[in-house]
Amino acid sequence: MLTFIQQILNGLTIGSFYAFVALGYSLVYAILKLINFAHGDLFGLGTYLGYTVFVYASGVIGSKFGIWGLLPMGFVAAAMGTAAAGLAIERVAYRPIYPIGRLPAVVSALGMAIFLSNFIMAVWGPRYLAYQEAFIPTGFWQIGELRIRTLQILILLSSVVLLCLLYYVIEKTTFGAAVRAVALDRETAALMGIDFLKVIRFVFAVGPALGAVAGVFVGMYYRQISFTMGWVYGLKAFTATILGGIGNIPGAMVGGILLGILEALTAGYISAAWKDVFVFAALMLMLIFRPTGLLGEKIAEKV
């Protein structure tokens, strides 16, 4: 029983990472109907930016304010840097190309993914880097036999807070209504006076920023980071997006958490080597039997 709870807890933690990254995919897909293949690598960029900020700031900030002064700074800097990268990619590689057609946009997105991962390799080098002990909250809480790391609590708390915030913005504010309107029908929304570009900028800033937060957490949780990790997490997160229903915000969260738990349980009870096979098989089954995802709505076919 204890192992089970421990596995669920791990699953929730990993699931939060996926949920963060999945939101970026889902937001962009809702607006542009484009799989942003570069998103996984934006997440990777966030991890590396966080690493760099921690390395350079730990001396000055860390010594003055301790780890709890260092952490927010790292997160904010990584999120802002990655959001800027997301906006730049949108401006350079997507905005001129997506009016041409769907397929060129997919290739352009693949091109950006290749560009970003190689950019990370060129700047930070091809070897593994490690988040150092000094950047990571190391405490843990003991509840009976159960041991929970402070970091895990931090991850779960911030995922709940940030995801609720995003949900509130999209569902309850006027701007959120504009985003939803553009997702439904871009042209009609534009006729109603909604600034399409503003919505796009929002999506390409918030998605990568959330991805960067997840990236820094992943760095702290697993310690080891490499330039190829963006692709792996990107693919998993995209699976989560599909599981929950693409273009659907609560869906991305549910999908992410579910995927994390599925992964933790298969790794714990069946086989760690086969866990990814299970994950992708779940994706295929979902697409075969319910392509709209768990929370997706039925989309009428356009003739």
């Binding site: 897909y29 109907k33 799989i35 350079v92 590689a93 001129p96 190309i97 009016p99 041409i100 057609g101 769907r102 397929l103 060129p104 946009a105 997919v106 290739v107 352009s108 693949l110 091109g111 950006m112 993914a113 290749i114 560009f115 970003l116 190689n118 950019f119 390799m121 060129a122 091809p126 692709w231 693919l235 995209f238 699976t239 599909i242 080597a273 086969w274 990814d276 096979v277 992708f280 098989a281 994706l283 295929m284 697409l287 075969i288 392509p291 076919e301 003739v303």
Partner: protein, 323 residues
């Protein structure tokens, strides 16, 4: 405001002249180029074969397949396992590899063929990953795990062992030529037209009595069998296969070869394969930055020529269609 992207329009004599010139170039190439570049020529041929297979799926029918490397892997592993374990001659395994890849494609794609656009794209990515992970995990000890399988025998034909880069160069280009010829006939047949109809408007095609499902499956199976052939040639050339050769990046490169060269066009796809292989070679002095440039070049090509450098005129409608 819609931009216009004209396809190449060459007159018939010009096309014939171009065809003969390129054939003459391809045949003479190994006699004046260095061994290194003949090897590069082999890889161009290999990607051309893979690209031609994907072109049937993506270019002719418009099915997004980002997991083509899976079928390539299946072909290569079929050759490796049957040759190393049972001593079947490598070249005799060429049709076997094609058949096994085609059979797997049929099994796998039957339940997913009704999916469209991005959904199919995601399933094929997942498929490619599953195949790679299975190969790494070594079920039943047949795939050799992360190290793969080595010691594949050299192929021989009429008592001549295929050994040097030049031999392999001709092997692959003969295969490319045969496949290209067959595909050209298919393109102009009833089946080819039905494929294009499905690509342009699936529902209208179904209404006209085109068996959409069967034709999509046929395209998938045919494309996969070409990848199986490429897998056989690859295994014979490398003399070993390992899961590292069949990553998502490879599927991505094949996908890009079709779109860079030209959707639905046979010469375009071969050209695209050449671009994808030669780009990193030419930028070798830039070493670690070359893939960075490659990513940028992909985006730039899509801006200036969204259908690729040499698209088929019939396919441009699909490329620029907003859906």
């Amino acid at each position: 405001m819609r931009r216009k992207f004209p396809a190449f329009a060459l007159s018939r004599p010009a096309r014939l002249a171009l065809l003969f010139a390129s054939i003459a170039f391809l045949i003479s190439f190994p006699f004046w180029a260095s061994r290194y570049w003949v090897d590069v020529g082999f890889y161009v041929g290999l990607y051309a074969l893979l690209g031609l297979g994907l072109n049937v799926i993506l270019g002719e029918v418009g099915l997004f397949n980002l997991g083509h490397a899976a079928f390539w892997a299946i072909g290569a592993y079929t050759t490796a396992i049957l040759n190393v374990r049972f001593g079947v001659p490598t070249l005799a395994l060429l049709p076997v590899s094609a058949l096994v890849a085609a059979g797997c494609a049929w099994l796998i794609s039957s339940p997913i063929i009704h999916l469209r656009g991005d959904y199919l794209c995601i399933v094929t990515i997942a498929l490619g990953e599953i195949v790679r992970l299975v190969l790494i995990n070594n079920p039943g000890g047949v795939t050799g795990g992360p190290n793969g399988i080595g010691g594949i025998a050299r192929p021989f034909i009429f008592g001549h062992t295929i050994r040097t880069p030049t031999d392999f160069y001709f092997l692959i280009w003969v295969l490319v030529a045969l496949c290209a010829l067959g595909l050209r006939q298919l393109q102009r047949s009833r089946i080819g037209r039905a494929w294009n109809y499905i690509r342009e408007d699936e529902i209208a095609a179904a209404a006209m009595g085109v068996d959409v499902r069967a034709l999509k499956l046929l395209a998938f199976v045919l494309g996969a069998s070409l990848a199986g052939i490429a897998g056989n040639a690859f295994a014979a050339k490398m003399r070993m296969v390992s899961p590292d050769s069949f990553t998502f990046m490879e599927s991505c490169l094949i996908f890009c070869a079709v779109l860079l060269g030209g959707m639905g066009s046979i010469p375009g796809t071969i050209l695209g394969a050449a671009l994808v292989v030669l780009f990193p070679e030419i930028f070798r002095p830039a070493a670690q930055y070359r893939m960075l440039f490659f990513g940028l070049a992909l985006a730039a090509t899509m801006y200036f020529r969204p259908g690729g450098v040499w698209p088929r005129r019939r396919a441009m409608e699909f490329v620029t269609k907003e859906r």
